[in-house]
């Protein structure tokens, strides 16, 4: 297991290197002074001005040299400042990452636990009442556009608040602005804000996870080693928990790892619908504003997150499956 972990860690470092290269090239291949160039070329003495501009931005240096100094800056935490609002990229990321993580972790943990439970229960009585109902809802939520489900939940939340006469569900932002509360008060406020966007993500993730778990479980329950375990006289419950579940978790671990990595950078729709200032919003705004430093910093941060999540997925996989460890 230790050898396997070391191997995976080394591979992660190599992948990280390529991630930085891609993040750099994606932005470096776009000419940041394209507009000025067109304007200046039509002016007398414009060519010299372009040269000066390029030199001040370091564009006259070879690409590999620029990459080297950019990488150095990144590791020193010098990610530049936003051209849009003049704030440091590290500060912007530092604000956005916790917001998104809170949402994504809450949604993923809940949807995995529920998804595994629903999937296993469905598989145990295939085409039973529970299986049919859960299949219906899985496809219903799977087919729903995220923005629509989000808007629907907002509407329901507001109606519920009106009916209750108290504000339980918050529909905008990740916490109340200028909130003056103690530790518990702050968390209660955050909980009120997170329920609806988390539900939006959970509904869709739960749909997928439960389907994956169901089919994996059905596969495993029909396998020869389950028959062997039963022939040994292992009680039914133990057959499920000790023999079937561990094998049937493998596909779900892969799936969860993949989606979690994507979600860190990509809850754009949910964040916009609920007005959360997370990573999705940050990326969208940086693109719309042509905010190169922010885009680059975002790419790097998401790249690193995905690599870390993949590493954790691989380690979980290795822990669950001895064949992977030795492979």
């Amino acid at each position: 297991m230790l050898g396997y972990a070391t191997r995976k860690l080394l591979i992660s470092v190599v992948v990280l290197f390529f991630a930085t290269l891609v993040a750099f090239l994606l932005v470096a291949t776009v000419d940041p002074i394209a507009e000025q160039r067109v304007f200046l070329l039509s002016q007398p003495g414009g060519a010299e001005q372009i040269d000066r501009l390029e030199a001040s931005l370091g564009l006259d240096r070879p690409l590999i040299e620029r990459y080297g100094s950019w990488l150095g800056d990144m590791f020193a935490g010098e990610m530049g400042t936003s051209t849009d609002n003049g704030r440091a990229v590290t500060t912007l990321l530092g604000e956005a990452i916790p917001v998104t993580l809170r949402l994504v972790i809450a949604a993923t943990v809940i949807s995995v636990i529920l998804g595994v439970a629903v999937g296993v229960a469905s598989a145990m009585r295939q085409y039973g009442k529970f299986d049919n109902i859960s299949t219906f809802f899985a496809f219903l939520f799977f087919a729903m556009p995220v923005f629509w489900l989000g808007a629907l939940l907002k509407d329901l939340g507001i109606r519920f608040n009106d009916w209750w006469g108290r504000r339980i569900f918050f529909t905008i932002g990740e916490q109340s602005p200028r909130l003056d509360a103690d530790f518990w008060g702050t968390w209660a406020d955050r909980a009120g804000h997170i329920i609806l966007p988390a539900l939006t993500l959970i509904a869709i993730q739960l749909a997928a996870t439960s389907r994956f778990q169901r089919s994996a479980m059905l596969d495993v329950l029909g396998s020869d080693y389950i028959r062997t375990a039963r022939a040994k006289g292992v009680p039914r419950r133990r057959v499920i928990t000790h023999h079937a579940l561990r094998n049937a978790l493998l596909p779900v671990v892969s799936y969860t790892g993949l989606t979690f990595g994507t979600l860190i950078g990509g809850t754009v729709v949910t964040e916009v619908v609920f007005n959360w200032k997370g990573m999705g919003r940050l990326f969208l705004e940086s693109l719309l504003n042509g905010d190169v430093a922010v885009t680059q910093g975002w790419l790097l941060a998401v790249g690193i997150s995905v690599i870390i999540v993949n590493l954790l997925t691989d380690l979980t996989y290795g822990f669950l499956d001895p064949r992977v460890r030795d492979g």
Partner: protein, 337 residues
Amino acid sequence: MTGPANPKAEVPVLSVQDLEVVFPSTDGDVQAVRGVSWDIYEGEVLAIAGESGSGKSVSVMAALGLLPPSAQVSGSISYRGQDVTAMADKELEKLRGSAISMVFQDPMTSLNPVMAVGAQIAEGVRVHQRTKTAIARSKAVELLHLVGIPNASQRVDSYPHELSGGMRQRAMIAMAIANDPDLLIADEPTTALDVTIQAQVLDVLERAREAAGSALVVITHDLGVVARTAHRLLVMYAGRIAETGMADNVFERPAHPYTAGLLGAIPRLDATKGTRLMPIDGTPPSMLAPPPGCAFAPRCPRATEICSQETPELRPIGNQLTACHHAEDQYGEAEDV
């Protein structure tokens, strides 16, 4: 012959009476087993032979309650006089793996890939004997040693993918005899293995059976496997018994054309040069709609009109029981050879 002197005097370990198994399917009912009765007595080795789909595995799976829930089982299966088909899950679980245990065909897929083999053997011990983990583990080492796995104390922690097919089947056998069962059932124990190690595994199975003092049912399509070990032989065709008797008698003078056909299809070391193997023409019938009369009639060289009209009953011919309208002719001819 090492079989019991007078089998009828004692209660059989397992008794199957008028067993019928039907699997409903979208195309209609598959009649996998159509009225089969047999007994096995203490210390006996019974071989059930037949082609794929003849119902040989299904009839023993039913005994352990391992058929899918959709299967419709009728008739009775009793273990030492207790009716197994009427047992609740809990009672059946107690029986499985302790009194009756099973070795399956494919050791590649029959072991849990994410559990060490020793842990899988120890689990069987702990489920039935409630011993401490350490004791169950040392029992697993002992069993692995017994089935001839070298370095058993290290191999106990190996995962199935780290072992060869033959080693895995040995581990399966170790698992099956962990609780000294009264009855060991081996379902095609060597079919998935290389020819070179089939004999070794059969030896291990025989040794394991002796160590556990159990009776053994070997299910096989390979009469070569049967010839080595079986006391009694039961030949199945299309869900029914074609012929049964002491193995030596049946081998020497088959009274059913199907048994004769199976024997004619095995290469023999003592055959004179130039002797050809005689394959049986045709394929077994569909069990969705088995033909009326004798199911073997369409492939049988001796078939006459009566064969496709009347189902032959098992009746004594020589020293065995045979279900064939022309058993006397077949039996008579075998004597001439």
